[in-house]
Symmetry: C3
Subunit: 456 residues, 3 copies
């Protein structure tokens, strides 16, 4: 079905249910910023949408950074030697191992082990999420209850096994490209989601599944105006690597959305781009409050909007989440599990994203071809023929589009100023184009009625 169908609650609920199936499948994988966990995750996504995969060798520079060694792990556990009891086991939960832990096979006393353990005393049942990508070390994350049980075993020794490899390999990311009409497809928009977090459902299986679902719906509908690129990549180093490898393409990007954390019970939260008034920000002003959400200003902490909005790029990227990063108690712990994700919250996020993508994609700027005085709409069948009783909402939309059609006001401007719904304005614009009264203002414009998806 086309993306617009997602604006309907029923369709959004059905797609959210699909998404939860995908998330359930992806949940157990041991993801990190590199390695097979990412590859298996992309396999799952590829069951829904076609992906172009990229494997970038370790050591490849990305501005101030470089692609690190690839990390994979087969097993990791701590056993009390005295009793033979397995106290912590990666098989039980993918958060148990600090991401990028170096290999280890050793008998350790508790004193030696303790500095490598991470727990949350205030949330005794939750396993924290910890990483150490750029300092070679190792560690285990466990619930406070597990840690207490380990302490009850006395001073050890403990048999500690981390069967990992950290060696030259690749960083993996993938894209799904939905070609657009405008400018022969060279006007682009990006949806970016991070694929590196293990064992956390809201952060970020919701983002992965939502991106996959949106791409699937967009592929199923008429060719959009913009070329939409859905990027699945690890956080920070993935975004940096993507920016470095696609730097020449960046000037084509009209809008970008970083998405994630779309299934918790918090209100939808759109974080503005660094510019504050970029295209996605303006679309969000229309769409997000109407969906019960709120907008917050940019700050240079969060997800990969940090990289897209660094001053050397300053790209028009906003971010949509429900609760922002670190703004809910379950954040970055095993309490962010599949049960934590609310299907209706995820469905609402999908509706809002469909609205945002739709508004960004529809945001043509128009030129009135009969700009001196109002054109006679009546003789073109666009206006009530007996005067005196006033126009309806569609006729108001026609008048607004003609009035603002000076090549300087885009559809979002007109929607904001007229307080008319953007889809109504888009339909009215189509009628005026057909009547020869309106034309796209930009040189490289799309054919609004070409639903076959061929570029002009």
């Amino acid at each position: 079905m086309p993306l617009e169908a997602l604006l309907q609650s029923e369709r959004a609920a059905a797609v959210a249910a699909d998404a939860l199936v995908l998330m359930r499948e992806l949940f157990p994988l041991v993801r990190s910023i590199t390695g097979d966990g990412v590859r298996r995750t992309l396999d799952g996504v590829e069951a829904w949408i076609p992906l172009t995969r990229h494997e970038v060798p370790s050591g490849t520079p990305a501005f101030d950074w470089e692609v690190p060694n690839e990390w994979n792990v087969r097993e990791a556990h701590i056993t009390d030697v005295a009793t033979g009891r397995r106290l912590v086991d990666l098989r039980d939960h993918s958060l148990h191992l600090v991401s990028y832990s170096t290999p280890l096979r050793a008998l350790l006393t508790r004193a030696e082990l303790e500095p490598h353990l991470h727990s949350l005393p205030d949330q005794p049942d939750a396993i924290p999420y910890r990483t150490s990508y750029y300092r070679e070390t190792w560690g285990f994350c466990l619930s406070q209850r597990q840690r207490d049980a380990l302490a009850a075993c006395g001073e050890g020794p403990f048999d500690v096994v981390i069967d990992s490899t950290l060696a030259p390999g690749h960083l993996t990311y993938a894209e799904c490209r939905v070609p657009g009409q405008s400018n022969d497809g060279a006007d682009e928009a990006v949806v970016y989601t991070h694929v590196c977090h293990p064992g956390l459902a809201n952060d970020n299986l919701t983002g992965i599944a939502a991106a996959a679902a949106l791409a699937r719906e967009l592929l199923a509908g008429p060719r959009p105006r913009l070329t939409w690129r859905f990027v699945f990549a690890p956080g920070t180093i993935g975004a940096l690597t993507w920016l470095a490898r696609h730097e020449a393409e960046l000037p084509r990007i009209r809008a970008g959305l970083v998405i994630g954390l779309l299934g918790d019970g918090g209100a939808l939260t759109y974080k503005r781009s660094r510019r504050g008034d970029a295209l996605p920000d303006r679309a969000a002003e229309l769409i997000v409050p109407a969906a019960g959400g709120r907008l917050i200003d940019f700050e240079p902490y969060g997800y990969d909007e940090r990289q897209f909005c660094s001053p050397g790029f300053d790209l028009p990227f906003g971010r949509l989440t429900r609760s922002p990063n670190a703004a809910y108690p379950e954040y970055h712990s095993s309490a962010d599990n599949l049960d934590f994700v609310q299907p209706e919250a995820l469905a609402g996020s999908l509706q809002c994203l469909a609205g945002l993508i739709g508004a960004i994609d529809a945001n043509q700027t128009w030129r009135n071809l009969s700009p001196k005085g109002e054109p006679r709409l009546g003789k073109r069948g666009l206006y009530g023929l007996t005067g005196g009783a006033g126009p309806g909402q569609f006729e108001h939309a026609l008048l607004w589009l003609l009035n603002q059609g000076d090549g300087h006001h885009d559809l979002i401007d007109v929607a904001r100023r007229s307080r008319l719904p953007l889809p109504l304005l888009a339909r009215a614009a189509a009628a005026l184009v057909q009547a020869g009264l309106l034309a796209p203002a930009d040189a490289h414009s799309f054919q609004p009625f070409n639903e076959e998806g061929t570029s002009p």
Copy 2:
């Protein structure tokens, strides 16, 4: 008396009383967008002020439109053949005939007649106002009670007579020009009011009478800074025709006001120009709220501001009404009669318009001729001579004008920033000009003390 006198309640009440006499005389005329009803209306206005009349032939193009055939009507009625009863007669009310109805003389059944009847079931005593300028048809407007009475006559036949002509002729409009000083009179302002509505008092005999009264007062006073053009023309096609015939003069226009609907009990409502910050908008920010009124944003529906503010012109035209179009139940029906107009409301509108016109006309931009530090006002007799006790309001006005006199702030800016009354600032500016401390900032400036009305 000069226009400023209208700022006083007593004078405004007297002029409103005059205006009501004129409105009473004009009320019965069968006006439309062309024809003798407009000509007789202008005759009435000409008893007050000199007019230059324009007769534009049918078929004359006006952008996407052209001047239609001229329409005149002598009589129109519906008679129940069975009883000889005259059920509807144009002689009773000029709204009874759909404007531009084609000629007809026929015996019709009720079934044939019904599709040509217009009534307001919810307002059973009111006759609606309907037109059909651009689709050749005919129709009668009648109260629901009349329509019920007609239905009570059974199936007819009915003798239907419309003795009208619709044939090549002319569209009529007129202007009263009050020459100004600035730029040899080439800096202009426009007051525009529509003269096409029959049988409605608020819409728009109030606008016609107010424009006539304002022009009369302005002609009686000292020569204004701007040349003020008062335009009396039919709605839409009249405005388009005026724009087409005066297109070369449009760059001279510094401000325009569309006026009408000035006598109902609603609050004064200034509708901003498309630009939103044009000169009349800025004047209205000062004047209208102080008169108890409000400002609303531009929208491309309403009166002839639609044409003046189309994107091909984007002229600095605002609109002053009391209730906006379609915002009162009596709108476009026979309930908008002479009794509906409140004399004190009309007087208040005249006061507000005198303020607006005064502010627009006074809105010079000044240059301080002694801009480095404050000039010594004391030695020029403009300031209290013993220091320490602080200045009065007039001295504050002097300081504000000197401080803002950088050629970039006009009198409205200074009034807004200083919160001092515009007339006080205008007097202070005159004193500073006389003292050689201030000069108009624009090349083509007027002589503020030339009260004889001769151009410089």
Copy 3:
């Protein structure tokens, strides 16, 4: 101690106590816009800080003005001849004589004397402050009780003595210059205070003492970024003379503060510059509300900001007072005495001024030297090394500075947008400069770690 120490309440209280000692010493001097009262006042200031003095001859032009004759007075009194009672004597209070009174030695009747007397009937114990700089006359200011007592003496005669001189001489002003690093010291800031008022403590011994104290602290600390000039000069003609004599230096001025009236019980009041968004205005937005104060818009009445903000200069000068001029009952009368000044109010003013001067001086604009994506802070020891748990406030400051480091946002912008304290941001900027990640954006920039005070 360096200026920053003044941000602490204890240090501010100690400096305010010092200032009150200086004020007590300066209080009895008969100050005016010229003469020995000003010179003795500057002697008192010079005990604290080095001054460069300027003596400008009478007749020297200053734009629309010129330096007046110098005025000095030795004695002035009124004696009831009948009783030999000294009714008014300048020795009792320096406000008793109208400033610039011409010499006189005469026996006068009460009728002749009355037009030359000034009192405040509503404040019977207060002596008003009156001047007559530019109209040659004489007068006495006295309390209403004294005036009643004089009236009780009957019709006189009264022996009236004014032993003054009004003759060609000089206008005196002085500067204390604290050299800065930026642009070889050529980027300047000014603190201006008026030294002309006799016998008023809040207006303006508080301004004089505060300026002296701030200069003293600034001289004791590390070399500031800007060259700070503290100007002690008479009001109006002093400011005009200073502007005229230093006109070529005005383009160097980045910010200016007029200060005075810093010891009354009113809230701190920052008056914006004419521009409204100049550097000191932006600093004040950060500093003054946090100190419990408020900002008000510019108006062209007040103290010497009138001259600095005249349109021919339009300098970036704001003003800090507690109550504004004329906004307290004791204003310009003998009730504005040393007891009227509250030590804790003066201390609070000093704290606020230290904050303002600090913010203006620290307001560098930075450029991120690694602007594409975030640089790796971890490898530079600037960031927590185990991921997942989120950054602290210092790390947020680093991220904000890097993100806004595009050469267009100064430190005040970053403080406003990030809501982080300006001193924290300044420390974080220093760390980033040291790490090679940030550099000053302007060509003529200072060395932030050069505490020896040598220019680069």
